[in-house]
């Protein structure tokens, strides 16, 4: 009597080798092709399909997120309230000073007949998607190429610069945040005009790199875009210096920057359109 073979078939490493080879080919082609190459187009096509799902997720989870935000705000202590009152008072004084400066500026401009500063054209958009994985600092907005949005356009939130569009489909676009490790923005410290590059990191913290040791930078200094590189217009707030250190024998200062905009709670953004820009895949400007 013939005994039947009852063991399940053993592992076939040929399949693994095939898929590993295929993945390597895909990676190579993706890097070698241009932004309009077939693999990039497929990725954009997937974005078109996925955008409504992301928008659905945003809509469905909004009440739960609102509840969490409300619960989080309940924890504001008495000392924090006192601090906010003080901050409010000093900001009122500052607003009055700035209003005075604005009026003076207007008078001087009229006097010397300076051309009006460049007006920034913008398109408002809703945030419909957040990063789908831990490694990607990207949000999705509900405006795309049909609304005049292109790749490489700066995106701002209510408090300042957020990032840059990196992939655009017909009705949606992906925005790489300035906190992402692949982002870099030419910046300067508003008070002292010290120049550097603001870089993101894997944990979402930002640093201001390449600031000379003799430049005066302190905690609380406002960091703005310098306009160098031509991607971001000059003067957009990026954040505030949260820590500035000078290490002995170091070439540059170690400066941490707290982002002006918190993308986690953002619901609306503005895309600055009009000027053609370029996307720098690594390191921004």
């Amino acid at each position: 009597m013939k005994i039947q073979r009852t063991e399940t078939p053993g592992p076939r490493p040929g399949w693994l080798i095939l898929f590993v080879a295929l993945a390597i080919v895909l990676i190579t082609v993706w890097y070698r092709e241009s932004d309009t190459g077939p693999l990039h187009r497929v990725q954009s096509g997937v974005q078109v399909v996925v955008a409504p799902i992301e928008a659905g997720g945003e809509l469905l989870t909004r009440p739960v997120r609102g509840l969490f935000a409300w619960a989080g705000d309940l924890g504001v202590s008495r000392s924090q309230l006192e601090e906010l009152r003080k901050q409010n008072q000093s900001l009122r004084v500052r607003v009055a000073e700035l209003e005075e400066a604005r009026l003076e500026n207007e008078r001087l401009r009229a006097l010397v007949d300076l051309p009006k500063a460049r007006e920034l054209q913008s398109v408002a958009a809703h945030v419909i998607g957040r990063p789908t994985n831990s490694w990607d600092g990207v949000i999705v907005i509900d405006r795309g190429s049909t609304q005049g949005i292109g790749v490489g356009m700066p995106v701002i939130g209510p408090q300042g610069l957020l990032g840059q569009t990196v992939a655009v489909a017909a009705g949606s676009a992906k925005v790489r945040l300035i906190t992402d490790q692949r982002s870099g923005v030419a910046a300067l410290v508003q008070r002292t005009r010290a120049e550097g590059i603001v870089r993101g990191s894997i944990d979402g913290r930002m640093t201001l790199d390449f600031v000379e040791m003799d430049a005066r930078v302190k905690k609380g200094d406002v960091v703005i875009t310098s306009g160098i590189g031509g991607i971001y217009p000059k003067g957009l707030p990026i954040g505030e210096v949260s820590e500035a250190r000078r290490e002995a024998n170091a070439l540059y200062q170690e400066i941490r920057v707290q982002p002006a905009s918190n993308p986690a709670r953002l619901e609306e953004v503005l895309v600055i359109v009009g000027e053609p820009a370029t996307v720098v895949p690594q390191g921004g400007e």
Partner: protein
């Protein structure tokens, strides 16, 4: 073909969850990876070849959802699916400790491999910074989710097969 339907359905649902729900389950910048959970569960319940196929497809979908290069997660999940599938014969229908341990190891290995691969491609970040802020927390998060998801998913994906080897009866 009939056997492939639950696997295809699981990967499809995991992709929907990854795009629509995972971003809002993010804790401290760490987002769960539903596709990884499906691939490892599928590999443990069906075998290495199926694990590698599912890993490649799921990884490619994962790559397409992001803005990074196409292929790194496909490579990582193919290998993860294959190696997890090698343990398929050791899995018992009623056991949960071994599969969860395998899932935890697979989750950490996949995150580390993905981070290293991104680093190799010039897209990553310093290793130890990534390890403590992304890889390890993501592995813990995915394992915690696996505790909830694995029993149901494994039941859905498991093929009805007769016990064929002594090892499975032991």
């Amino acid at each position: 073909m009939k056997r492939a339907i639950p696997a295809i359905a699981s990967i499809f649902v995991a992709t929907l969850l990854q795009a629509g729900l995972a971003p809002y389950m993010s804790i401290g910048g760490v987002t769960p990876n539903f596709l990884l959970l499906v691939v490892v569960t599928l590999a443990l319940t069906t075998g290495p070849t199926e694990g590698a196929v599912a890993g490649f497809v799921a990884g490619l979908l994962f790559d397409m959802l992001g803005t990074g290069p196409l292929g790194p997660m496909a490579l990582v999940l193919s290998a993860t699916g294959y190696f997890a599938g090698l343990l398929h014969e050791q899995m018992f229908a009623e056991g949960w400790l071994l599969p969860i341990t395998v899932l935890a190891i697979a989750a950490l290995s996949a995150e580390v491999a993905y981070g290293l691969l991104l680093g190799l491609l010039g897209e990553g970040a310093p290793f130890w910074q990534s390890f403590f802020t992304k890889m390890l927390p993501a592995a813990v998060y995915n394992t915690a989710l696996a505790l909830l998801v694995y029993p149901w998913l494994a039941r859905f994906l498991r093929h009805e097969r007769p016990m064929k080897t002594f090892r499975r009866l032991a």
